[in-house]
Structure formats: structure tokens, C-alpha cells
Amino acid sequence: MVERALPEIPRLGGSVAHRGMPSWLKGLRREPRVVVAGGYLLLLLLAAIFAPLVSPHDPLEQDLMLNTLPPAFSAGADPGYVLGTDSLGRDIASRLIHGARVALTVAIVAALAAGAFGTVLGLLAGYYGGWVDAVVSRLIDIWMAFPPVLLSILLVAMIGTGLTSVILAIVIIDWTRFCRVVRSETLQQTRMDYVDAAVVLGRSRWTILTREVLPNVLPVVLVLLSLEMGIAVIVEAVLSFVGLSVSSDMPTWGGMIAEGRQIIYHGWWVMVFPLSLLVLTVLAFNQLGDGLRRLTDPVMRR
């Protein structure tokens, strides 16, 4: 009777196979913005790392005879100074390249530190639940009640200026961005049946957390990291614009913008170039993050 009630078992598989291009490459074709933004950022990173080699001039070298030279394409320019010079006769192109060092250092270090801290807390809270979750969630609530400006004013007033302070301020303010998302994502993953299956197999909680849950949470962290780097670049620029970042003998985009703002009527380019580079970089981090989100989302959650 049993045998009659049930149909034959058809063979499955084989036909779904899609060979050839690996899926991540296909994804990149679907999201060209990831390639463009990522390529730009890679170039910028290389320029920053090899700044002394690729800069045409010493970024600190002043030559008052050559002050406020316009960029190469306009009249009265000196071809040796492609993007012109600032009011002290320093080469703008070289200063931009060196400024990328500060910008990217802050972006990478601050985002990674905030990301690591927030992710670890978020994972623990989401996975272990109970009092761990209660403590972390309260902590987030308290943090969120403190608006970022307030916190940053307080922090800079407290710890003073400098590269480390800027990074520290960003980490202290922005770790909650990661923690909130990772916590809810982990919570969602922990409810999945594959976690139960791993428990039945006798895997330890730690193994399940690091080997099963974490890989599913990482794509989100990656997206947040990219967005956070964009935020960090802005924060650094703003702080150096008002003179609260690194000391003035180190070129920064924000500092250059501030100098340009002073002489806006005499040399628009002094402000326009660093501002454009800043916008481009921020947009690149944003588009990269957005592209990564689209790339990882439908695949991982289907």
C-alpha cells in the first residue's frame, strides 16, 4: 500500500550547474560600481603609500615667489605645478597626495577598530543573549542617546587634537553602528535551523559562532566598513578644517580646504582641488559599500 501511494523518485541535479565564470566575477559585472570605486580607492591608496616617490615636489617646500600659481591649463601657469600652488607657494598636487596619507590612515584604522569592537560585541550579544545581550543593548541605548556632535566636542575637548585623538573619537562614537547591525543579524542567524543541526552534531558554541554564524554576518560588516571609511574621511576633513586634527605641518585635505577658503577670491583652485578629491573619495567609499551590499544581499539571503 505504501509503495503504491508514493511516486517514483526522479533524479535531480546536474542541470542547475552553471559552469564557467565564478559567481563573484559575474557579480562584479552586474555591479560595475564596485570595480570603478574600488579601483579608484586602490589607486589612491597606492599614491598615499608611495607619496614621496610619486609627488612632483616636497609638499612642505615653500616658495613665496611662486605663490598662488593657477593650475596648468590656465594662463600664467607654471607647467611644473600641475594643479598650481597655494598662498605659500607649495605644490598643491604634492600636498593632495600626502594629504591622502592622513585621510586613508584615519579611514582604515578608525573603521577597522570601530568595526572590530562593534562586531565582537554584537556577535556576543546576538549569540549568547541573556544578560550579555541586556548589557550590550543598554550600552548601545545610552550611546545613542548621546548625539555624535556632543560626544565629539566632549572628546576633542578632553583628549585634545592629533591623529590618535581623531581616530579614537571616531571609534568611540561609531562602534554602535556596527554593533547594532551585527547583533540583529546574528540574532537572525542564530534562529536558523542550521545552528540546531550543528548543536546536534556536538559542535561547541564557540565553533558554531565563529565557523557557522560569523561567515554569514561578515558581508554586512564589510559593507558597513566601507561606509564607515567614507564617514571617517569626512570627519577627519572637518576636524582638520577647523584645526582640530593633526598639526599644521602635515598636509591634510581639510587643512588645504581651510587655507583655500581664506583666499577664495584670489585662487579658487586652492580649495577646489582638495574639495573635489574629498568628495570623490567619499562617494567612492559609499558606492563601494552600496555595490557590496547589492552583491552580497540577494545571494546570501535567498
Binding site: 523518485i9 541535479g13 542547475v16 540546531d196
Partner: protein, 294 residues
Amino acid sequence: MSPALLSIAGLSARLKRPPHTPLLRSVDLEVAPGEVHGLVGESGAGKSTIGKAILGILPGAIELAGGTIRFCGEDLLAMPAGRRREILGSQIALIPQDPMTSLNPSRRIGDQLTDGLRLKRGLNGKALEDKAVSLLRDVQINDPEAVLRRYPHELSGGMRQRILIAAAFSMDPKLIIADEPTTALDVTVQKEVLRLIRSMQASHGTGVLFVTHDLGVVAQICDRVTVLYGGMIVEQGATADVLAAPSHPYTAALMAASPRHDQTGSGMQPIPASLTAALQGELARHGLERVTHA
């Protein structure tokens, strides 16, 4: 009757927090070696709770309040954790309900299929791969080498469920808990998967505790059946006997309510209100409230 493979006696469970709502009330149930034992009841009856109690994966909000779960004569609840871990996964395996959430989206099929073999049997390398390929062949999957390298989202629901079945049988367990393994699938795929479980179970001689809310499914693959209502057993016996002449009105009502798989055209009938009221009375006599979904 052969000695029991799984023997549950007086199992009770309740919510950990006040008001300690009871979820299982003194459940007795036996599964013989090689037998498919159906566990039926409507949603919220406590079927999954029984399965999870056996596997030791009860949610944190639920606690056991008494009873024993013996596997081959050993009490799973009383044994040392080490021994228990030895048994779970290798001698008792799980076929889960939802093939979508039961495979880790970020790990390859091959890795997940062979977790048990690696962890419990210490297999690796070529031997492991050969075994994985033959496991997929057993569940009628073509081109197993390619499928092993895929990620879950690249496969259909039916294929994923077959992979979970293969994983469950990979350790040649004595007992399999199948928690509604077909409800997440569409009807034609359901039948294929049922047949697959039945044939795998027969060839391996595995005992199966088959959780379902569908008496039609019970009729198709179960040797014996237990009917659960509100955490309490209302009827138990050989499938043919129970379905031919249900002794409890709830079973009869459940039969009328379930879609018939062998004949088309007969509509489903809702469980009559009068019966529900009578059952509530019965539960009340046992000091048990029916747990309703919020």
C-alpha cells in the same frame, strides 16, 4: 514486539518562566528499530518540543519537568554530557523542517554534508569525498561532484531537502527525528521526499520518529502513530488500526480535516467547535490548558 529503540516515558515540559504553562503532559511513546512512528497533531500541539527534547536542543524558554527519554536502554537525560554528545548526531540524526534555513548559506554543500563524518568518524581526504559522492547518489542526485561544490542558494528546495536527508543518513544512525520534513515543499516534491525517506529508512533499517500534522502523510509512510493534542497523547496505535477506526473523536476530526492524498475532490472539513470544546474539558480535567498561539 522487538525491544524499543527509543522509549519516552512520562515526559513533561513547560515554560521556564511563570506561569509555567505546561507544553507536554506525561507523554509516553516508543519507537521500535526499523519502524516509522508518526507523531501527529495540530500546530502548537508540542510535536517539535518532543523532537527537540530528544535532541537536546530545546529553546531556552522551555524546560523539562519530568520523565525519561531512553535510547537503546540508556537515559539520554541522565547520562553524562560526553556520552550524550557521542550518541547525538551519530546514532540519532535530524531531518529538519525547513531546507531553506537548515543549511548554512555561507558554506559549501560538500562541507555541510560531511560535517558529521569528519567530526564523529574522523574521515577526511579522498575517503571523505568518495563517501559524500555516494551519499548524494543514494538520494538520487545527479552529478554529485558538482553539487558538492555548490552553495545552498544555488539549489532548489527539493534538492536541499535531499541533501539534508543524505546528511542525516550519512552516519548510519539508528534513529532519525524527521520534523515535518515535507511541509516547506510543494506537493509533488513532498511525495518524492516521502518516498525517499521511506526507501532510505527501509534499506538502512533506521527507526524514524516522523513529525507531521498531516494524517494523509501518516497513512503513506508510518507503521505506528501517536496523536498529540495540547501536549497530551489522545491516541496511539498501529497506523492501519487508528486510521480505520479512530477511538478518539479528535483523531476522527483530524482525519476529516486533512487533505486526502489517495482521493481527490473531497473537501477538507474544519474541526467542529463542539469537539474543540469537549477537548478543552478533557484538558482541564488533566489540569492542562491548551496552549494557544498568540
